[in-house]
């Protein structure tokens, strides 16, 4: 059983005029970081909201940890950080975690033990008695993450968790997510920061106009088969005629030299010939594109198809 499963999930707004989601079938496995990508208005937040019962699907169904999302009991083992969340500003950090923990069904004794630990984890230990109206956006975001963890959930839904957080804070959040994954938690992430997503995610799905257009492992998306980046000092332009002789395609892209080979044997043959010519090889690295490149490629391809 997958922790998150959706079946033909569809959502229309304004009496059917606005299509937010269309027939989304998604399975998210356990103990991983899963990221949902898509341009603005693709339906990412709507999908997350439907899974959490914040809004209702027009059609289809979904299950969280085996429980139908129509039941509020499906939220028992779930933590959620909403995009642009707002806590009551008359509370301090400790009180926010206390009341939201109580609403999650955590008892007072556990909360008193857990709150200081979580505040420490999100680097707010010195701010626990401070009213949150004095907090910066980044601090509120970190408090939001602590709030999402207050019931020690099995699944964590985070909508733009690093929004407003500085680079150091982002790295801390990233480390925290990886720690949580290692603890066996499933993290469902919505983020526009593709470089962040690429660093932490195991699996991604891309939504466009409410439709699921791609889903798979990150490494599958960013690795380019049989393409290698080659680093050779000095006159690299000599490489072009050399590669032509070997029937190897050589491209220069963003200051990098990329070779396309048929297979590993072909690559080794190329290396042997280079060495025969006493050329110094600094590095041969399997070529990878960034998740951002892949994302733009997929979105543009789909736009091309739809045009």
């Amino acid at each position: 059983m997958n922790p998150i499963e959706t079946n033909d999930l569809t959502k229309y707004y304004s009496g059917g005029k606005v299509q937010a989601l269309e027939g989304v079938n998604l399975q998210v496995g356990g103990a991983q970081i899963f990221s949902l990508l898509g341009p603005n208005g693709a339906g990412k937040t709507t999908l997350m909201k439907i899974l959490l019962g914040v809004c209702f699907p027009t059609r289809g169904s979904a299950r969280i940890l085996g429980k139908e999302i129509s039941s509020h009991w499906s939220h028992s083992r779930v933590g959620y950080l909403a995009e642009n969340h707002r806590f009551p500003d008359f509370l301090n950090a400790w009180q926010v975690l206390y009341y939201y923990g109580k609403m999650s069904g955590v008892d007072s004794v556990t909360l008193k033990e857990r709150i200081p630990r979580l505040l420490d984890q999100v680097k707010l230990e010195n701010w626990e008695k401070e009213r949150i109206k004095k907090f910066s956006k980044g601090m509120l975001q970190r408090l939001g993450i602590a709030q999402a963890l207050i019931n020690d959930p099995d699944i964590l839904f985070l909508d733009e968790p690093t929004d407003g957080i500085d680079p150091i804070g982002r790295r801390e959040v990233r480390d925290l997510l990886l720690t949580l994954k290692n603890q066996g938690k499933t993290i469902f992430l919505n983020s526009h920061l593709l470089s962040e997503v690429e660093r932490v995610s195991d699996e991604v799905a891309i939504l466009k106009n409410g439709r699921l257009i791609q889903k798979g492992r990150v490494e599958e998306f960013i690795a380019v088969k049989d393409t290698y980046e080659i680093k050779i000092p000095g006159a690299a332009e000599d490489l072009f005629p050399f590669c032509q002789q070997l029937n190897i395609e050589l491209h220069q892209k963003n200051g990098k030299y990329l070779i396309e080979v048929d297979d590993a044997q072909h690559l080794n043959h190329f290396i042997d010939r280079l060495r025969e010519k006493d050329m110094i090889i600094q590095a041969i690295i399997p070529h990878k594109i960034t998740l951002e490149d892949f994302f733009i490629e997929v979105i543009e391809e789909k736009e091309g198809n739809s045009n």
Binding site: Y13, K49, L52, G53, V54, C55, F56, H72, W73, H75, S76, V78, Y80, A82, N84, H85, R86, F87, P88, F90, L91, Q95, Y99, Y100, K102, M103, S104, G105, D107, Q147, F157
Partner: protein
């Protein structure tokens, strides 16, 4: 426990917005007035003199009548002024709860939407109940200790006031859920509150209008809407220890409150955020 957390959070919000403090301060002021303004000298178990705000009360006025009079006045003041203030002070509690960014987090908790709305509703009713009973109980104690007349009926006025508030707040909850505007919800609730005496006089209004339909319409409104004027009368009669001839106004108003909260819960449970 989860429901209690919402009620506690509502209390805290009221405290932070100074609503609770204002209520509590005003109630304390009224109690202090009774402590210091009402002077009563009892000699050998009989009153020798009674003064209120330093003014001697004539011997003709029986002490029991005086106590009932003060308690009735206080009950009526609380019923009208207290309800008016309570509705004003709690008008924003539902809409602030429904604010985008806040409600999503609450809904994602393992609570049913009915529990969420009920928790907020009970939180608001509890704030008013706490303050009303604080004032009623302490002023009753002060008056009873000073005069030796223990009018238990006065305590019932607290129940009636809180019950009336709960009925009107159910309407305000409905309006807040539907239109999500505290000011508009308050205006409509005030209109219903002050519409009640008019509807009580519907026979006179009907006499001015032609057409049977107006009579049916006015009767329909009268029986459907909360009957605050009659509820105030019932409160006064309970304080004075007089017999209440009809409880229809009470039970029909309670039914209105239950209906309004039921509809609010239904709409809230189907609402997209």
């Amino acid at each position: 426990m989860k429901l209690l957390a919402i009620i506690q959070l509502t209390f805290r919000e009221s405290w932070a917005k100074k609503t609770f403090v204002a209520f509590f301060g005003l109630s304390t002021l009224v109690c202090l007035l009774f402590i210091f303004a009402l002077n009563l000298d009892i000699v050998d178990g009989l009153k020798s003199s009674v003064s209120l705000f330093g003014k001697e009360i004539p011997e003709l006025v029986e002490i029991r009548e005086l106590v009932l009079g003060i308690e009735s006045a206080l009950a009526v003041f609380l019923f009208t002024g207290g309800l008016f203030m309570s509705l004003f002070a709690t008008s924003g509690l539902i809409t602030s709860f429904l604010r985008s960014g806040n409600i999503e987090l609450i809904i994602s908790k393992p609570l049913s939407r009915f529990q969420i709305l009920l928790g907020r509703y009970l939180g608001a009713v509890s704030i008013v109940a706490f303050n009303v009973f604080y004032l009623v109980l302490f002023s009753w104690l002060i008056l009873s200790i000073k005069t030796g007349i223990w009018n238990w009926g006065f305590l019932l006025s607290g129940i009636m006031i809180v019950l009336t508030f709960a009925i009107l707040y159910a309407l305000m909850t409905f309006l807040s859920v539907v239109i999500n505007s505290a000011a508009f919800s308050l205006m409509i609730t005030y209109a219903i509150l002050f519409f009640s005496p008019l509807l009580l006089q519907r026979d006179r209004i009907y006499a001015l209008l032609s057409g049977k339909i107006y009579g049916v319409l006015l009767d329909g409104l009268y029986y459907f809407l909360p009957k605050t004027t009659e509820l105030a009368d019932i409160t006064r009669l309970l304080v004075q220890g007089s017999a209440v001839t009809s409880w229809m106004a009470l039970w029909s108003s309670i039914l209105f409150g239950i209906f309004m909260f039921g509809v609010s819960s239904y709409i809230f449970s189907r609402k997209n955020f």
